[in-house]
């Protein structure tokens, strides 16, 4: 069976960290995506951590925004970490939305400035039975989630991981830790979607 291709949006941010994690998971091809033609080759896409304003401006400046939005709406699995979560949201407190696809309201820099960044350990049953390390860097949280959104994890009462069908969002950065369970989870999401597509095509 052909291995699914997971793209990483490579305009800015924690691209190499996601690449290393996916390569450790194995069973997937990894592709850095900067152009619409590269996006067309991806079965699933990771929107990495970084600066959401920077990534959003580069998405628009290079004609990647519309094709990406279209792929997501057609069901391509997508996972946004931190800045990526902000890009996916339909609403961002105090500023206009970017890709405007996931039915959540997100608050940027919700915990404050860098001195308020933190890490903790918590179980998230969707990803793993064992507790996993969660790293929050100037992180956003989900202030409100629509009916179709499954809340996967809360920390201190705030939603920090959620899924809506093909869209996964985490406030924290699994790519900064050695724990691979969220990358495995997303690889499976992509594998299932790729198999579904090939069944329809055949």
């Amino acid at each position: 069976m052909k291995r699914p291709v997971i793209g990483i949006l490579a305009l800015q941010g924690s691209v190499q960290e996601h690449r290393q994690a996916l390569e450790s998971v194995g069973s997937v091809e990894v592709l850095e995506v900067k152009t619409p033609s590269a996006l067309a080759l991806a079965d699933g896409l990771i929107l990495p951590g970084g600066e959401s304003t920077t990534i959003a401006k580069l998405l628009c400046g290079f004609g990647l925004s519309d094709p990406l939005r279209e792929r997501i709406l057609k069901g391509m699995p997508v996972w946004g970490t931190c800045a990526g979560m902000i890009l996916l949201a339909k609403e961002i407190v105090g500023e206009p939305a970017h890709l405007n696809v996931m039915d959540v309201t997100v608050r940027r820099n919700a915990y404050g400035r860098q001195i308020d960044s933190f890490s903790c350990v918590q179980s998230i049953s969707a990803f793993s039975r064992e507790p996993i390390p969660l790293v929050f860097i100037r992180a956003p949280w989900i202030e409100w989630a629509g009916e179709g959104v499954e809340v996967l994890c809360r920390v201190g009462g705030k939603i920090v991981a959620a899924r809506q069908e093909n869209m996964l969002a985490t406030s924290f950065h699994p790519e900064l830790t050695d724990n691979l369970c969220v990358h495995r989870y997303f690889a499976e999401m992509t594998q299932r979607a790729a198999m579904g597509t090939s069944l329809i095509q055949s």
């Binding site: 941010g13 600066e51 920077t54 401006k57 580069l58 404050g112 400035r113 790293v135 860097i137």
Partner: protein, 292 residues
């Protein structure tokens, strides 16, 4: 404390592939953010003005730093003088996201740097070579940048520093263990960090380029030499069209390995900053030599 140091290194990872721009007021900060900067560096005078005007260059006025913090949502950095513990404490109390213990300001201490482990806020420090980089990391720096020669618009020193660091890293990955102590001795570098670089093939923190970057092509050159992101000081607001130049350098950094995009973004930018040939600068006025 170690956990905080880890989180601070992590923030630098989030800045990778991005451009950090020097700004001197809220309006410039907004222009930088709008252009796609990943962070801004708040300072009263850009390096080329410090060079021209002379005198002692110090930490910026907290009022100006606060105005910039209010103007943008991206991280805000600010500079403290080398060894100036009190300036760093003041910047930390302002909630600054990153402190640059910078040779661009006049050093406050001619023998010692700040012990950066004493702080919760992360530090970036300049380095010319592997030894200097590892000494700063040994003191707790969470990010390294080349020194280049700030305020010159001349990239040659940044290139020299980046090439030197990358050459040493490549060399270290090939040295047998028994040669590492002598390497540490000869390069004035902490032994444990030398061993770590030899094992991993990279610095333990993110490594950016700074000092003399004035065009998208300069940024792309530094990225191709192994830099993980770019600081631009005088290069943006001393050019004839800062808005265009800022956007072009952001794009040039993201697409550093795509000459067609680089050609496109380099077109019609107006004049880059004037620039200075290094041989015109007397030895005593070179900022890169500050640091111990």
């Amino acid at each position: 404390m170690n956990n905080q140091n880890e989180l601070n290194k992590n923030l630098a990872q989030m800045l990778k592939g991005g451009v950090i721009m020097d700004v001197t007021n809220a309006k410039e900060a907004e222009i930088a953010q709008e252009a796609g900067a990943v962070a801004v560096m708040a300072l009263e005078r850009v390096p080329s003005d410090i060079r021209k005007q002379g005198g002692v260059a110090r930490m910026s006025d907290p009022k100006m730093i606060k105005e910039i913090q209010r103007a943008v949502t991206i991280p805000v950095m600010a500079k403290a003088r080398i060894g100036h513990i009190a300036e760093a404490q003041i910047l930390q109390s302002l909630g600054i996201d990153y402190i640059d213990e910078s040779e661009v300001l006049t050093p406050a201490d001619d023998a010692f740097h700040i012990n950066k482990f004493d702080f919760k806020v992360p530090f970036v420090c300049g380095a010319r070579n592997i030894g200097e980089a590892l000494r700063r990391i040994g003191e707790g720096a969470a990010m390294i940048r080349t020194k280049g020669e700030a305020g010159t618009g001349n990239v040659v020193e940044a290139v020299r520093h980046m090439r030197s660091m990358m050459a040493s890293i490549r060399q270290l990955t090939n040295l047998p263990k028994e040669e590492l102590m002598t390497f540490a001795k000869e390069n004035d570098a902490p032994y444990e960090l030398v061993v770590q670089v030899a094992e991993t093939g990279k610095l333990p923190v993110v490594n950016f380029a700074a000092g003399g970057i004035a065009t998208p092509a300069d940024a792309a050159l530094m990225m191709q030499l192994g830099s993980e992101g770019i600081f631009v000081g005088s290069g943006i607001f001393k050019s004839s069209n800062p808005v265009l130049m800022a956007k072009a350098i952001v794009k040039g950094t993201a697409f550093y390995n795509d000459p067609a995009v680089l050609a496109e973004v380099s077109e019609g930018l107006g004049d880059a900053m004037r620039g200075i040939e290094l041989s015109e600068i007397p030895d005593g006025e070179r900022m890169a030599q500050r640091g111990w």
